[in-house]
Amino acid sequence: MHLPQPDPTILARRAAIVSGLTALLPPGAVIADEVSLGVYDCDALTAVRQKPMAAVLPSNAEEIAAALRFCRDHSVNIVPRGAGTSLSGGSTPLADGILLVTARLNRILDIDYENRCAVVQPGVTNLAISQAVEERGFYYAPDPSSQLACSIGGNVAENSGGIHCLKYGITTNNLLGIEFVTIDGEILRLGGKGGAMSGYDLLGIVTGSEGLLGMVTEVTVRIQPKPAAVRALLIGFPSIEAAGAAVAQTIASGIIPAAMELMDRVTVEAVEAYCGAGYPQDAEAVLIAELDGTAAEVDALIGRVEAIARANGATSCRGSADEAERLRFWSGRKAAFPATGRIAPDMLCMDGTIPRRELPAVLHRISELSVEHGLQVANVFHAGDGNLHPLILYDVMKPGDLEKAEAFGADILRLCVEVGGVLTGEHGVGLEKRDLMPVMFDDADLAQQMRVKCAFDPAHRLNPGKVFPVLHACAELGKVHVHAGQFAHPEIPRL
C-alpha cells in the first residue's frame, strides 16, 4: 500500500494554491494549517497516513464546481471525502492534492412518500435517512456496518453494501438519481425521482467509481416500507461445512432470508468474552438467519429454516422470541470488529467474495495461511451472498507485522479470485487492493475501465493512485490499432 510519488511541481505551488482556493470560497472553507490538517490525515484505513495539501469544505454544489474548476485549471489533484470511513483508503489524502470534503452538505432536502424517495445532500449519514423516514414506517435498505457515521455520498462512491443486500440489493440498486459535478465544474443531473435515465446509464457507472469520475452533490434514494415482522434464528453448527450446507439448502429451497451471517469459532469466542451475546460455546460455526415479512410468513419461514438447520446437524437453534432477543443475537455480530481488539491491538479487515460452495475449502486454506504468516485470523461471513470478511490480527508496534498482515491479506484475496470470486464485495479497491487488480483483470479489461476514466477525467486529477495500479495516458489508451491487411474474413466482399 503505497501512495504515488507526489508531484514536486504541485508541492512547490502550495502557497499559491491555498490562497487561490481561499479567495475563491467563503471564509472557513479552506483548512491549511498543519495542526487542523492532522484530523484529515487518513480514513478508516488507518495504516496509511498522509496530510493533504489543504482540506476544502464547500457548502454547496456551486462551491464544489468552483473548487474542481480551479484544480483542473491549476493542475492540482483532488481526493473526494465524505465521512472518511472507507476501509480501502478510498479517501486517503495525497501530499500533492486537496481533500474535497462534503461534510457541510448535510441537509435532507425532500422526503417524498408519494414517490417513495428521499432527496438528500451527500454529507447526510446513511442512518439519518432511515431515521428521517421512520415515523411513517419507511427505511433506506442498504446498511453498511458504519451506517451511523458513513455518508450517503460516500456510499454512492463506494457502492456500499451491508448485511441485507442479498434480499434488498446494494447502493446501486436503491439509487434513483444524483446531482454530479464533473472535473470541468459542470453540474449535471443523472436520473431523478423516476429512476431510469435516457441514454447510457451514467448513474450506474458513477456509482461505485470510488471518487475517480467526479463529485456527487445530491442523492435521491428509494425508501421502502419496513417489513411488518422481523425475526432471527441463532444456530450453532458442529462444522463450517454443515453451516454452509444449511445456507445453500435454504436458498435452494426458495427462501431468500433478509440476512445470513456466519461466524467462526475464533470470532464467537472473542465476541462472547467481549459482550456475552449468548452464542453457543460448543459450536464451530454460528449462523444468524433473519427473516422478514408479514407475521405469519415470518413464523412459517423460521420453521422451514430451522428444519433445514436441524437436518444439517445443528447443535442448537433458537428463534428470537421478541425484538430485544433479536437485537441481542445481532449485538455479538455487530461487536465482532471491536471484540477482536481484545485479542490483538490492530486488525486488517479483508473483503473478498467467493461462490458460497467454496466456503469450507477457502476457510481451510485461510487457516493454513494463518500458520504460514504467523498471524491469527477471525472470520465473519455474509453467508447469503458469499462476502467473506477475514479479520487479520496483528500489532503495528511489532516491526514487520503490518507487512506480514498485508501479505496475508493479499494471499487471501488471490485465493478468492482463484476459486471464482472477486477482490472486494463492498469495501472498494481504493489504495488497499489497487495493486491486486491485475489478479482479476487482464490488460484489455483494465484498459477498457481506464478509457471510461478518461471520458470523465482525461488529466487524471480525481483521486489518482486509487483503483488502478498504473494509469496510462488517455491519448495512448484511445489509439486504435488496426491490423491492416489481415482481414479475418477475406471471403466477404468489401463495399
Partner: protein
C-alpha cells in the same frame, strides 16, 4: 447488406478489426426481433450474434447463471424452469407486439434494449441482474468486466453501461446474471371500474405499505376489453400481484381483499394471475390497437398528470405509475414534441417505443439529453467505440 456470422468473441473481434481496417460500420443483430426499436441503423454490414448461444455455467444454489448472450429467451426460460428459478427483471416477450411472431429474442437483446417487466419496480431491471460479462469493444478487443458472484464492487460497474446501450458500445458475448427462486405461489387482487387517477392512488398507497406486492398495474378500459372471458370488460382494471411463499401470499391477499371488499375486490388464482401479468408485460393488449406507442418512466405521483396532459387514446400503467405505456393516434410527428415536453416537465423520460421507421428516423426515439449529459455520453461512446463501428445512430445522432 452483407452479413457476418460469428461464433465466439475472437471471431466478433476479427469482424470489428475488419471494419476498422476498411472504415465501415456494423449493425448488430441477435434474432432480429427488436429491429424496430430505436432509431434506424445504417451500416455497411450486419454482425449476426445469434450463433453465440448456449449455457456456460448454471449454479442454481449460488443463484448464478452464465450463458452466451445470443441464447434465445425461450431456451433460458426452460433452463430456469427446470430449477424453479427465474430472472428477477421479468423480461417480456414482445414478439406479438412487434409482429415478429413466436420467435423469441435473445438475452443479449433483452439486456441491450433494457427490457423489463412488471416486477422491476421491486426486483430491479436488467442492469440490476447483470453481474458480469465479456464483450468486444470498438478497438477490436475482447475484454471482461464485473464478476461471477452476486456481491462485487471490484473496478467500474461496466455491466450497468451495457444495459440499455442498444449495442452501441459493442456486442455482449457471455453474460453472468443473478437469478432468483421462482415464487411458490402467485395471486392477484383486481378491482374494476376505477378511473386511472383513482386506481393509481390506490396502487401508490399499497406500494407504501409492507405488503410486498410484486405487480401494481392499472389498465384503461379501451385495453382491458381485449382480455378473455369475464375479465374482458370495457372498464378500468386495477391489479395487485403477490408472489412468494404460500403463507405469505395467502396472508397478504386476505389482508388486501378484506380491506377492498366493499369496492368489489376479486381474487385471481395462480394460472389466471400468471396469464394476466404476462399479457401486461408483453404489451399484448396494445398489440391489438393501431397507433404509436410511447413508453414513459416517471416519478409515480406524476403519472396521472402526464397522461392527462398528453391525452392518449388508451393507457397501461405499471409500477404503480412509475411506467406508462401510452397509445396515441398515428401522426407523422408521433406527437413527439408534446410527449417529450410533458415528460421533461414532470422529470420523466419518454421513449417512442412503436412507430413507423420513417417517423423514428425523423423524430428520434429517446428523450433528448441535456447538453452536459450529452457531452459525457459521447465521451463514453468514444471510450468504447472511437470509430463508431457499432449500430451507428441507433440511440441518438452519432451514437
Amino acid at each position: 447488406m452483407s452479413v457476418i456470422w460469428v461464433y465466439n468473441a475472437q471471431e466478433a473481434a476479427a469482424a470489428v478489426q475488419d471494419s476498422l481496417a476498411d472504415g465501415t460500420s456494423l449493425a448488430l443483430r441477435g434474432r432480429a426481433t427488436k429491429l424496430s426499436l430505436g432509431r434506424p441503423v445504417i451500416a455497411e454490414r450486419t454482425l449476426d450474434l445469434s450463433r453465440i448461444a448456449g449455457a456456460i455455467r448454471y449454479e442454481p444454489e449460488e443463484l448464478i447463471l452464465t450463458v452466451k448472450a445470443g441464447t434465445p429467451m425461450s431456451d433460458l426460460d426452460m433452463m430456469l424452469r427446470e430449477h424453479r428459478q427465474m430472472l428477477p427483471f421479468e423480461p417480456p416477450d414482445l414478439g406479438h407486439f412487434f409482429g415478429t411472431g413466436e420467435r423469441r429474442g435473445t438475452l443479449g437483446g433483452a439486456l441491450g434494449a433494457d427490457l423489463c417487466g412488471p416486477r422491476s419496480f421491486k426486483a430491479g431491471r436488467g442492469r440490476d441482474a447483470l453481474l458480469g460479462f465479456t464483450a468486444v469493444n470498438g478497438f477490436g478487443e475482447a475484454y471482461k468486466a464485473g464478476g461471477r458472484v452476486v456481491k462485487n464492487v471490484t473496478g467500474y460497474d461496466l455491466p450497468k453501461l451495457m444495459c440499455g446501450a442498444f449495442g452501441t458500445l459493442g456486442p455482449l458475448i457471455d453474460v453472468t446474471l443473478k437469478v432468483l427462486p421462482a415464487p411458490e405461489r402467485e395471486d392477484t387482487v383486481i378491482l374494476r371500474g376505477l378511473t386511472a387517477p383513482e386506481g393509481l392512488r390506490l396502487l401508490r398507497g399499497i406500494a407504501g405499505e409492507p405488503l410486498d406486492a410484486s405487480g401494481l398495474a392499472h389498465i384503461s378500459g379501451e385495453l382491458a376489453q381485449h382480455l378473455e372471458g369475464v375479465l374482458g370488460v370495457a372498464e378500468g382494471l386495477t391489479a395487485i400481484r403477490f408472489e412468494g411463499a404460500r403463507e405469505a401470499v395467502e396472508e397478504r391477499v386476505q389482508t388486501l381483499s378484506h380491506r377492498l371488499r366493499r369496492a368489489g375486490a376479486r381474487r385471481l388464482g395462480g394460472d389466471v394471475s400468471h396469464d394476466l401479468w404476462k399479457r401486461i408485460g408483453n404489451l399484448d393488449l396494445m398489440a391489438r390497437e393501431n397507433g404509436v406507442v410511447w413508453r414513459i418512466v416517471a416519478p409515480p405521483f406524476a403519472a396521472p398528470a402526464i397522461a392527462g396532459e398528453i391525452g392518449p387514446s388508451a393507457a397501461q400503467y405499471d409500477w404503480a405509475g412509475g411506467l406508462l405505456w401510452l397509445l396515441l393516434d398515428e401522426a407523422p410527428h408521433a406527437h413527439a414534441n408534446l410527449v417529450r415536453s410533458v415528460a421533461a416537465r414532470h422529470g420523466a423520460q419518454a421513449t417512442l417505443f412503436r412507430a413507423p421507421e420513417a417517423v423514428r428516423a425523423a423524430h428520434g426515439v429517446f428523450q433528448p439529453l441535456d447538453a452536459g449529459v450529452d457531452r459525457l455520453t459521447r465521451e463514453v461512446k468514444t471510450a468504447f467505440d472511437p470509430k463508431a463501428v457499432f449500430n451507428p445512430g441507433r440511440m441518438y445522432e452519432g451514437i
